[in-house]
Subunit: 220 residues, 2 copies
């Protein structure tokens, strides 16, 4: 039993490290596009404005992707980080709430490139019935349960008012959704095996505002 616990423990990479991976992925993608074949942690650190030590430390959580005296092969590292992030597999997702933000996400086709496949949108507004976005249909919210039972959907993006969020999330979870990308301005309380990633736009804007005030203070 002990080794099992440890095996799980071993996988527990800190949140700080995870949140840096997409950024590495982005920079490596740019390098790849620019035709760069290899890069050292030192050169990458200059581009990314982080320490080389942090880059090496971060990557070594997942394995030795580099080679002494050479550095990192850009294409290889890009692919490996993609695998770590689960981008080598397809993820079917739906959007609940086909308002402005929901439609904005639906139109954002570049998610598809990373394996995120939008299958349907849902809304309560009867005017949206039958509407399609990039060929993807908007369905009525009362069809949600039936739909989930017949389709293999992994992720749901919640782009609806916070008053409805918790309620809908419960339905989603009861019907097998494993992960929720939450844009509602509320913290969902769900079983802890459900993955919730929240984007709180208002919070982000407030941080910006804090920094402005701060900046003005110091000016004085």
């Amino acid at each position: 039993m002990m080794w099992r616990a440890m095996e799980v423990e071993q996988r527990k990479i800190s949140r700080a490290v995870i949140s840096r991976l997409p950024r590495y992925y982005r920079y490596l993608g740019d390098l790849l596009e620019a035709g760069v074949e290899r890069i050292s942690s030192n050169d990458l650190s200059k581009k990314m404005q982080v320490t080389a030590s942090q880059i090496r430390q971060d990557l070594n959580n997942f394995g030795g992707f580099g080679q002494q005296g050479y550095g990192y092969n850009v294409k290889y590292l890009y692919t490996e980080i993609g695998k770590i992030l689960g981008l080598d597999k397809d993820h079917n997702f739906i959007i609940i709430g086909a308002g402005n933000l929901g439609q904005a996400l639906a139109n954002y086709a570049s998610f598809e490139r990373n394996g995120f496949i939008l299958k349907s949108l849902f809304d309560v507004n009867p005017r949206l019935e039958g509407v399609t976005i990039r060929g993807i249909p908007v369905r009525m919210l009362d069809e949600l349960e039936g739909y989930l039972q017949e389709n293999d959907i992994e992720i749901a993006a919640l782009t609806l008012p916070k008053s409805k969020a918790e309620e809908v999330a419960d339905v989603l979870v009861a019907n097998g959704i494993k992960a929720i990308w939450n844009f509602a301005h509320t913290d969902l309380t769900l079983p802890k095996d459900v993955i919730v990633e929240s984007v709180h736009l208002a919070d982000s804007l407030m941080k910006l505002s804090y920094n402005i005030s701060q900046h003005n203070e110091i000016q004085k």
Copy 2:
């Protein structure tokens, strides 16, 4: 000279603390709405799933808002955190890129409640010329410089493709914009007195995806 440096130093609240303030603000707002008059760090900690110690420590970075034996007055604390976040002042902002995401933000009227006043949108698409969103006009991007010189705009939200982001950001900064709310999938390199707050949606989705893969691994 030393005391000046220290004075500035003193203000340097850690990023972790700042990023928790909007969440406190949100919870306090809910409590206020629910008619709760006072709350102890212990009760709040249970609601927010953080330690009471962290709450007290965080708040004490800014001053003693509580009272021994009583706790915190909800309304007072809410107002004070609002001030810290700069929400007691109005902030004029514009949106560059009136595509789906730009329009979604423009329609998101609740920003106004916190003092963020949308003054105009800008786009290159001639079809959007003259269009208004909630009465706010979309202007053509070539009018941007002139507009900035005649209007007092503090914040610009960048909701445009990353290929245009850097270029537009430079124009913004050259014309007095102090803060950029960046939705383009790129890190802007700007003078360090310009405040940049980025929302990288793709990064967020990748974190979600990582956690799904992780979860599946452990299941096995």
